[in-house]
Symmetry: C3
Amino acid sequence: MDMLTPMGSETLDLPFRPPKPRRQGLTLVIDSGVPAGTLADIVESAGDFIDLVKFGWGTALVDKALGRKIAGLREADIGFFFGGTLFEKFVYQDRFDDFRRLCQSHNCAWVEVSNGTIPLSNVTKAEYVSRLCTDFAVLSEVGYKAPQRSAELAPKDWVECMSQDLEAGAALVVAEARESGRAGICEADGQLRCDLIERILDSGLDRDQIVFEAPNKDLQARLVRRLGPNANLGNIAPADVIGLETLRLGLRSDTLLVIEGDERARYA
Amino acid sequence: MDMLTPMGSETLDLPFRPPKPRRQGLTLVIDSGVPAGTLADIVESAGDFIDLVKFGWGTALVDKALGRKIAGLREADIGFFFGGTLFEKFVYQDRFDDFRRLCQSHNCAWVEVSNGTIPLSNVTKAEYVSRLCTDFAVLSEVGYKAPQRSAELAPKDWVECMSQDLEAGAALVVAEARESGRAGICEADGQLRCDLIERILDSGLDRDQIVFEAPNKDLQARLVRRLGPNANLGNIAPADVIGLETLRLGLRSDTLLVIEGDERARYA
Amino acid sequence: MDMLTPMGSETLDLPFRPPKPRRQGLTLVIDSGVPAGTLADIVESAGDFIDLVKFGWGTALVDKALGRKIAGLREADIGFFFGGTLFEKFVYQDRFDDFRRLCQSHNCAWVEVSNGTIPLSNVTKAEYVSRLCTDFAVLSEVGYKAPQRSAELAPKDWVECMSQDLEAGAALVVAEARESGRAGICEADGQLRCDLIERILDSGLDRDQIVFEAPNKDLQARLVRRLGPNANLGNIAPADVIGLETLRLGLRSDTLLVIEGDERARYA
């Protein structure tokens, strides 16, 4: 694989990582307001590992460097979208058409639709997916941001919401974990809801269309151990892009033995 | 409001944020030793949201980029000061006059006075406020850094200390939470001491002169929900400036519904 | 001390910090995939405080900015090495000679040897130390990355492993704490294993050859309080370099009173 050859990997057996544009092993980065120069710096040295960048929640309206950031991402063939909370804000104020125009004005190829914060049924959310997927590739997020509300969403409901969104035309569905890793697919104490993960994986949905948010190293390691090097992972902090790539390749303690084929290490 | 108009906010109802120089809705950033280029980058794209930068504790004596950082802040009309611990260090070594000279040599407009670490009564601290406020605008910090000592400071004592400092001439009083959010106005487990906050708000002191340290997103969100978009908040990490601005504007899940007027969400 | 004189320290009594190259008071930084520009920025303003940089675990194989980073470190007279996990990966794949060649190809002066992840007895690890110390200065890490396995390594075993490694020719032995501070010399809940630290200090080994990993401020402060300003500390995040220096000098609350000679504060 070209991106690793310069530095010694020719002598190690490493898992195959498909080059961009890829359908498996996606890394979705979240920009929570990182300085533009830092983002550019990361894109320069780790852009091959980044598939999409999310401008988290409503930061796109506040960040004066947005235009500069978008230009840099375009140049590196990295897609981008605005966080689902911004969609919800516009919907809550009954300004859905303005949201569409905002995304068009930035030439967004991707948009995210969610109901993590405002009262919005999944059926209605799926209708928004339909309305947007004519103009954009749509990411649809499933799961709530309030830990208790999220915990009450049963595994079968998760799968049903994901199915509805995919049937409505979503290109990718994202399983919520927030930036904290303490809601959605995680318990309030940060533990992964393993039963939920297994239910989603057993659902028959196309795994390539599912992205799991994994905002910290423990979640990333657990999901790589369970799903393999080419897990689709989201809410990756810019500073964690290189670290995640090493987890995928078995170049960090947390996944080394599993990637080497030691099954006892898989559920550690 | 000029700073938001470029990017779609003209179509959203957002809370009013006064432009700089402002008396309400202050954001005080803490520099814990951030690289100079990163700080410059943040100031460039988010400088409108930053009112003051504190060079945390004694970093000013160690950071070789201090001069370059100060020059950049001046250019962006952002005030700065040295952390109160530096004041305490000089006082502990009986070198108060040297502290004053140090601040003068950097043309500091602001200085911070505190007794969070060394044994120093509030009465004596207030005398230092008096002595410094002839030459500088003085921030006076109330609260201790040791969690247990801090917990023993009763709400009425906090209010009394704040009153003393303001009467002595402090321009702003800062309620301590450390960089950890685990002392001062917070319990050792990170919870906000709500009774203390309410007692301070009910004290009759001028709220515009009170700054609450809020070093993490949960504290920022709680204080914005309680105090509104224009809460005065301190110890904001440089990387959180944009995130805090979205919390103030209701563009992030944690405050969206409250800013939209949903009272049930206020105490969540 | 030259590095502090510019900014007011001439008027404060501060502990002596030896200039580079030093044998005591080492700061070993871990690069977990920091952007190259950020690292360069830190080196420029805080390079005097950094003795060695570790490219954490296998990031060296993934980080396209590696060459640029190494060049910058060389220019600042800062040594560097690849994390021990990379050594373990090569050994696990039975490619030890390739590891040696990789390090030679980057003109590494230092290499790290460890058995934190793969099954490898300390005796065998010490043999690798012997084989490498003819070409490189060797850092040898003691302690496991899995919290439970690590907890079962008794204090006397730690000392024995350290002795073996030093006798085999290691220049420095590093006591493991991971990047999380939740394994090795730390309990799974992050507390420092004080009995272990004391046993190591009482062992008669040369303290100048022992480095304690201290990846967060609490550990750094505890170790500076116990070992003094010139403790050898590792796994320091680039963003914490200036903060650590202030801890060493007693310019931050956590160590101010101890450095000033207040013995009651030593075990706080």
